[in-house]
Amino acid sequence: MIDILNSLPMYLICGGIILVVALVCVVFMVRAYRAGIAIGMDQKKLKYAVTSSITFSILPSVGILLGVIALSGSLGTPWPWLRLSVIGALHYETQVAEAAAEQVGMSQLSASAMTPQAFTTIALLMSICIIWGMVLSFFFNKSYLKKLQGRKESGEADAKNKKEGFGDTAMTAMFIGLVSAYMGSYIGSFVSGKGMFTFQGDITPIIVAVVSALVMAVFTYFAEKKHMVWLESFSIAGSMLIGMIAAVLI
């Protein structure tokens, strides 16, 4: 079974879909770049946005590649390759694939128990569970953004100086809330993960986050105080890498 799942037609089906998505990305990128130049944005800034995003994405992408490897043992390589190249997220795919395997009567996700029908059913379930972001985006992206925009404009008309700037503050606040939810969960699972207040949980995520934050502080110091602005593009990726190395060392 695993040989069929790793056969050439499977690679062609999945690779073809990935190619379509890649083309969509290229179209959006070229359009945005041209529009940026047309409205008089600094070309350097546009290029900077692209290069910093590229360096930023390399490490997380290697992490995602590991997800493909993890799932390829039971689902073959092409299908996890497709799922993780597009739409999916690492934590999602793994979880749903396992749960879907349970539904088709497999005790766990494994290549030896896999049948063609079990595979296609698992594949379908992996697809539909997470399709809703796209469906919502298709129907409501335009009206939702317009509504937000409209609210902002009327607010500005009311009290121009007063209302200005909260959109930005709100986004920063949302992100702080998000980071805090994760940070809290690392502390929580260390302290109470294996029984309340036993301090027996996994401490590695906390150490990794702290190391990564410290390295980030060093990068920021050099970028701001020593005016090494080019460091900014590498600071996040560099901090992550050193944080991850710390996980291996402890």
């Binding site: 994405s57 539909i128 809290g184 969960s185 309340m196």
Partner: protein, 237 residues
Amino acid sequence: MENKIYNDDSSREEFIEKYDKGTHFIGRLSTAVCTVLFCGAPFVIGIYLGAMPDLSAAAKGYLSVGLVWTVSSVVEFLVYTPMLGAGGGYLAFITGNLINMKIPCAMNAREIAGTKSGTTENEIISTLSIAASSLVTILILACGVMLLIPLQPILQSEALQPAFENVVPALFGAMAYQYYRKNLKLALVPLVIMTILYLFVPSLTSQTSLMILPSGALTIGLAYLSWKKKSGKEGRS
């Protein structure tokens, strides 16, 4: 699109409107095409394997695991769309990996470019950022899959596992420094409250993606209060 620079306000305005309309058109078209492709793929594979998906098992599976993800999809859409803008939003929902990559990536690009949310400049930067990020993932995965056989022993080696299990903490540690240092007082409240919550209800740690919502709402609320106070003071003086 002609390569022309729009300097006067009215033609610039007109251009932006046209660009915006185009973004929604292409965004919707590609979202529709990709939805069909993603959902159609299991059936195409079914033809090849000679076994169609078992729809009743899929429906049961959906009810048991899918509902949670449906809720989180709705939350993601509501929270991230304003962060990403139109072009970035369409692309990010097609290409996925929002929380662990696309969102921080776009925030980072925005920070570097210094654009304000809601502006066309920001829309363009975030589209560029998401597109570049998606292409990197596609490229690395394609290369990785080709090299999979020689790479497998290295990547799966016991010694490296902790590193790859901690990609997300490493990312959030770095981002936390970046955001906390400028807003220390604001950050302290959600951090303490969320930590206490997790300490007493440890099972919530597996639901972190849902916990983002109350945590984010709380922080926005606090930011609004302090912002209102500040702008009130400025208004009086």
